[in-house]
């Protein structure tokens, strides 16, 4: 397999038909192959997230990352866009589902598509990955340390989010969860609660919780980076997507 790829910024139809910016990274080889929607972390549609999209292309998937803050801050620097979105209350769940749905449809319409699409999200995107998988027809979902899938979000802050406990029985695809044992958002207890709920609902899932890792252990430009956890996590993702997005 060649590791040649190309990457581009294009516009697609997201929630409610709104045009939003997306970053698309694709292998140069012909398909058919699966696709991956990459949901960025709360700090935004940044260089690190685009690197992740390119890595999925290098692994043999068509990858797309929607700019979830496009409406609040079109064309702004990622950190300014993230600050603006935060000050305005964050990304509404309904809009996230529409934007990820638009991104998945874009992937499935590519001539290289085998019809299968997975989703992965980091930090706040981890919760949003589970949210998308409870509401959209996807083939595999990865939650990287998403807080408030279970647990009680703070009520007094302008960022209005809820946990996803009442939606988990609707999970439509297998879920891979990658967590740090030293994380507080989510705590190991909240991860255990999620495991228990999914097991009770007979939802296929596979969780890995790493020692000596807290939140954001994949982020290789931050002090939270943990090389052992990140390397093993990437291997787990490759194996998981190989099983569910191949063919």
């Amino acid at each position: 397999m060649s590791d040649s790829l190309s990457a581009d910024t294009v516009m697609i139809a997201g929630y409610d038909g709104d045009e939003i910016e997306v970053y698309v990274a694709r292998p140069s080889e012909e398909g058919p192959r699966g696709g991956v929607v990459v949901i960025h972390h709360m700090p935004g549609y940044d260089r690190g997230t685009k690197e992740i999209a390119r890595r999925f292309a290098e692994l043999g998937y068509d990858a797309i990352c929607p700019n979830l803050y496009w409406r609040e801050a079109p064309g702004a620097a990622p950190d300014d866009a993230a600050a603006t979105a935060r000050a305005q209350g964050g990304v509404p769940d309904e809009r996230l589902i529409g934007d990820v749905g638009g991104a998945a449809a874009y992937l499935r319409a590519l001539p290289s598509s085998n019809g299968k699409v997975g989703v992965i999200g980091y930090c706040s995107g981890g919760r949003q990955s589970v949210l998308a998988a409870c509401n959209l027809d996807l083939d595999a979902a990865v939650d990287c340390y998403g807080a408030f899938v279970t647990g009680t979000p703070p009520a007094e802050f302008p960022l209005k989010i809820t946990n996803l406990v009442d939606q988990l029985h609707n999970l439509r695809c297998p879920l891979l969860g990658l967590f740090g044992k030293e994380d507080s958002y989510p705590t190991p207890e909240q991860v255990a609660d999620l495991d228990e709920i999914l097991t009770a609902n007979d939802k296929p899932h596979e969780f890995h919780s790493y020692e000596d890792a807290g939140h954001a252990f994949f982020a290789n430009d931050r002090p939270s980076y943990r090389v052992a956890a990140a390397n093993d996590g990437w291997e787990r993702i490759q194996e998981f997507y190989g099983t569910h997005l191949g063919g």
Binding site: P43, A83, R86, R222
Partner: protein
């Protein structure tokens, strides 16, 4: 961590921002969450902003928890040192 912890306040003052230009600050957003630049896993972040001028009209500060507490003390000390009639 992704704490989602965010507190907002209105402000009235000025800040020196992009391109070394001063702008009128109308809004403050204070949160304890990921920094973009500081070499700490979590920081107390303050955005001094004027949303009417767009996303880039912002001065961002990321402080460790300890230094944020020092800043609070310094602000209080400076305010209290001023004559009472000037503090409103």
């Amino acid at each position: 961590m992704c704490t989602y912890a965010t507190v907002q306040t209105t402000l009235d003052g000025s800040a020196k921002g992009p391109d070394s230009s001063w702008f009128h600050v109308t809004d403050g957003t204070v949160y304890f969450d990921h920094p973009v630049h500081a070499m700490a896993e979590h920081t107390l972040n303050i955005d001094f902003a004027d949303p009417s001028k767009g996303p880039s009209a912002r001065v961002a500060v990321e402080l460790t928890a300890a230094s944020a507490r020092c800043l609070i003390t310094a602000i209080q000390t400076a305010l209290e040192s001023a004559p009472a009639e000037l503090r409103s």
